[in-house]
């Protein structure tokens, strides 16, 4: 056991750029043979499509998720162009309904839910906890194929005319009146749900069973904590959606009647079942983003995350409370006043763990050694948009106010701020932060900063006018509207244009960097965490020898202090305990730091 393992410090020392990872003198002979990166481990298409390597599957997800992002984005562009004029002269009523349904279905189920967990979670969780792979590698590959199968069904729906119900498939429209292809669309979502469940299952078991020696629960990176909480929701909420969609299909195919009052059913029951999944689904989309931002902030501030335990616990708290708030979607749908009051209260409670995260990030940044790297700018953009989205969520959780703005553009703006402003910003932040690790090449800082700023500005120009529109009474899902709303709609569409450019930009320079970028060392951002101790891109089996963790996460200050000491770094590190670290924290150690910006360029 002991001769097979090594400490983090060994790995760090071995993987530093100056010593060189390929240098056989610093490592044992075994490492030299296993250093072939996962990207070069096989070149055939077969070696990609039949891989069980979590990193390759992450890349497969990255490609497919990007394709769906652009399909969904194209539908959104169509909507925004149509809304430029009050008459709605581009699309027919039916066409408009089908376009926003397509936009919603693809963006929610094929982009937002799988984006961060299935690409970055897949890629990073085993690396971060010191494991060779996820617990069930073949299941991981199967879940990608299931995802693709669901995607193919959606494409078939698209070709055969689409669906006009909105992504929520509300009854009785979906069960009785819709003339779209509801059954096929529900099947697509049903199938992609299986993929979610299997991925969640894999994450839960991996985090429980495959942590390397010394990686206790209190030392897990916050990214892993948030993915663990996400996985709990995926496993427990998705099956409820599956059965609900099966009931919808049965209702259409042979008149089940569960949601039909004429047959003794209850249409409100559909909304209960649907939102029991779909409200937690919002946290499936945003919790991984919160985990990403915790990592970006700690790396940007070069400080341990303030209140680590509270940030970790708040992920779990959000997951649990998220199951209890679905009724706030139904304040005006006819549920009892007392139920609404309880759901209103519980919805306000979710703000507490969310607030904990935001305040702790702020406290982490306080006196941090910050440089304006692209990942940091994306994280800042995330915080801004997430706070606006969260605070308007509080407005919507208030019973009386919700009656005024229910089903208006206010709601549209609110959830786009959380789900798109929040999640997509974090997604791009993660893409910029871990890109050198995934590909082994650095990318342009200047272009990264530009796209971060453009996304933030474009996003606000697109969606802030929608708050005003909604407050003034513009209902959602209408494409013929009163002329006085036109100015705000034109602003929103102009913002969408900026946003489109800002989203396309990263894909060009990231793609460019794959060939022309400077090689990244193992740790180009100077961050802590096991994923930065292996070469970039990581070798096929992640760790030649399984690491042993001896210290707390985000130990930025310790590392720099020991860089200042000559020689005895490793020995001192192995003895470092949490208590020692607390004593060391007060000392001024910042002079020893390298500015992260220098390393980026």
């Amino acid at each position: 056991m002991t001769d097979r393992t090594t400490t983090i410090d060994d790995r760090r020392a071995r993987s530093r750029p100056e010593t060189g990872t390929g240098d056989a003198k610093t490592g044992d002979a075994e490492i030299g043979t296993e250093q072939v990166s996962y990207l070069r481990a096989g070149h055939t298409l077969r070696s990609w499509l039949l891989t069980t390597d979590h990193k390759r599957i992450a890349i497969l997800y990255l490609i497919s998720v990007t394709i769906f992002f652009f399909i969904g984005g194209a539908a959104a562009a169509l909507l925004r162009v149509d809304l430029l004029t009050p008459e709605g002269d581009l699309l027919t009523n039916e066409g408009y309904n089908r376009a926003f349904t397509l936009h919603g279905v693809i963006m929610v189920w094929f982009f937002l839910i799988p984006s961060i967990p299935n690409t970055f979670g897949n890629f990073l969780i085993p690396l971060m906890i010191g494991a060779r792979d996820l617990a069930f590698p073949r299941l991981n590959l199967i879940s990608w194929y299931i995802y693709i199968l669901g995607g193919l069904f959606t494409v078939v729906v698209l070709i055969t005319g689409g669906v006009d119900t909105g992504w929520t498939f509300y009854t009785p429209l979906s069960s009785m009146f819709s003339n779209g292809n509801v059954v096929l669309a529900a099947t697509a979502v049903f199938i992609v749900g299986f993929s979610s469940i299997l991925t969640g299952l894999n994450f839960i078991v991996t985090v429980h069973k495959l942590r390397c020696p010394g990686m206790t629960w209190g030392r897990l990176p916050l990214f892993v904590w948030s993915h663990y909480a996400t996985a709990l929701i995926l496993v427990l909420a998705t099956p409820v959606l599956s059965i609900t969609l099966a009931l919808i299909a049965a209702e259409r195919v042979f008149g089940l009647g569960v949601f039909d009052p004429a047959l003794g059913g209850d249409p409100l029951l559909y909304q209960h079942l649907f939102w029991f999944y779909s409200h937690p689904a919002v946290y499936i989309m945003v919790l991984p983003a919160l985990g990403v931002v915790s990592e970006l902030i700690a790396a940007a501030a070069r400080k341990p995350v303030f209140g680590y335990r509270f940030v970790a616990g708040s992920s779990i708290a959000i997951a649990i409370i998220g199951f209890l708030v679905w009724g706030h979607h139904m304040f005006v749908a006819g549920q009892s006043m007392y139920a609404s009051a309880v759901f209103s209260f519980l919805s306000l409670v979710v703000a507490v763990p969310s607030g904990i995260k935001v305040y702790n990030w702020t406290a982490t940044l306080y006196k941090g050694h910050i440089s304006l790297d692209p990942p940091f700018l994306f994280a800042m953009g995330f915080i801004g948009l997430f706070v606006v989205g969260g605070l308007t969520g509080l407005i919507l959780a208030m019973l009386a106010v919700d009656v005024h703005v229910h089903d208006t553009y206010f709601v549209v703006a609110h959830f786009h701020y959380i789900m798109v402003g929040g999640t997509v910003s974090a997604y791009f932040g993660a893409l910029h932060f871990w890109w050198p690790k995934m590909i082994g090449r650095r990318t342009s800082v200047v272009w990264g900063r530009l796209s971060a700023v453009l996304i933030f500005l474009g996003f606000n120009l697109t969606f802030f006018p929608q708050f005003i529109l909604g407050y003034l009474g513009m209902p959602r899902r209408y494409h013929v509207y009163a002329p006085e709303f036109q100015v705000l709609h034109v602003m929103s569409s102009a913002g969408a244009g900026i946003l489109a450019v800002a989203y396309l930009l990263p894909f060009t320079y990231l793609f460019y960097s794959m060939r022309y970028g400077a090689p990244a060392g193992p740790n180009p951002v100077g961050a802590t965490g096991l994923e930065w101790t292996v070469p970039s891109p990581p070798p096929k089996h992640n760790f030649a020898t399984l690491p042993v963790v001896t210290g707390p996460p985000y130990d930025y200050e310790i590392e720099h202090e020991e860089a200042g000491k000559a020689g005895g770094g490793r020995k001192g590190k192995a003895r470092t305990t949490r208590r020692d670290r607390a004593d060391d924290q007060g000392r001024p150690t910042r002079q020893a730091k390298t500015a992260p910006g220098e390393e980026w360029q």
Partner: protein, 212 residues
Amino acid sequence: MTDRRVDLRDPYARPHQQHSADMMGMFVFLASEIMLFGGLFAVIFVMRRLHPAEVVAASMRLHLWIGGLNTLVLLTSSLMVALAVHTARARRRHAAAGWSAAAALLGIVFLAIKTYEYSIEAARGLLPAVSVPTRFSGPVEHLFMNAYLIATGLHAVHVTIGVLLLAWMALRLRRGMLPLPGRIVTVEVTALYWHLVDVIWVFLYPVLYLAR
């Protein structure tokens, strides 16, 4: 400890770790199955709350004793599966194969009885989507029978999957394709799945048949 011959799969370093991960994965999967049926139970409870008297009247039309017999069959098959695990742990692979085959057989008996029950209901015009002249006393009875068909149908799909798994496992055990102390987890995990199918029926039976 015992010398376990295990084919260690990729991410694992120790047999014990692999075994406990496999078991945990199965438990998490079963939790998601419970949530799947949980949605159906919610539907049945809402129905009963909206129309208490009609649902009780509709429930009276179901065949209490056929359902009871099926409960007995399924519970017995669960015992067989437990015995299969027990004998597999004792490395008696032929006995384990026998017990799993017996459990699979009882699963088939369950499906046969269920089909017979469906056919009686279809003949009386009570089975939605199958009976050609339907003879429901009212919309609620129709709705109840719909929910009954969906719930028991979904359960029957699970029983079918379980029967196939058990039969395949019996075959592999008999031919020695499952090295016994090493791949014991396959037997345990299949048994867990079968127990869950059984437990779901134990809840479906009172909710549908005994709710009178």
